[in-house]
């Protein structure tokens, strides 16, 4: 089964685990991106995520097709959360199943790396001092 979804609801890791089940799978690698309490040493209260959902889901599906082809994934599940997230919440899950374990790690890593570099999704840091700025805003400080 495949999942490529942008979702405002809390991510249910078990949904991703169910999706990648396969009797031919010997390895499953699951990456969870979680909201940290600091960024580059500055205390943070959390993140706001925004996505251009239709294009983000298309791009995630393309990345899924790539890692299936490159690493022989049996199944791929990618869910990215949007909205206001608190410290500790799951922002993104990339789960894959493969016949052997080495490919599972490579595929999951390639999946999250490519989501981060290509999916039209943005995060705004809610600094603990009360200010809030978009990541990659050229005028941010």
């Amino acid at each position: 089964m495949e999942i490529y979804r942008v979702d405002a609801r809390p991510i249910d890791v078990n949904e991703a685990l169910m999706a990648i089940q396969d009797p031919a799978a010997g390895g499953q690698a699951v990456f969870l991106g979680t909201v940290r309490n600091e960024f580059e040493g500055r205390p943070s209260d959390g993140l706001f995520y925004e996505a251009y959902a239709p294009l983000a889901e298309k791009e995630m599906a393309r990345i899924g097709a790539e890692i299936r082809a490159e690493f022989g994934c049996l199944h791929v599940a990618m869910i990215h959360r949007v909205g206001e997230l608190s410290v500790g919440e799951v922002a993104v899950v990339v789960a894959v199943s493969t016949a052997h374990r080495a490919e599972a790690f490579l595929a999951s890593k390639a999946g999250i790396d490519r989501i981060k570099s290509r999916a039209p999704i943005w995060k705004k840091e809610r600094w603990a001092d009360g200010s809030a700025v978009w990541h990659h805003d050229p005028t941010a400080k």
Binding site: Y52, I115, I121, K123, H136, D137, P138
Partner: protein
Amino acid sequence: MAKVTVLFFSYAADRMNGRQTAYEVSEGTTVARFFDEHLKGKLGESMNGLMFSINEEWAGPEVTLHDGDQLAVIPPVSGG
């Protein structure tokens, strides 16, 4: 004239004071020309760091806008 809906995200939405705006552009207008005429000043940055999509698919700055198109301005992404 072609009616075009333009979507903004992240800091670009802040600068444009909204996430969606309707524009009327002359026939034959490319993304690049539209950007120069309508967005460059308010966004305060060049097109170099931005990407675009038309009707939910990636599109280069050379692509021509058509009536009913939905153009999205995609700032550098920071998901994950």
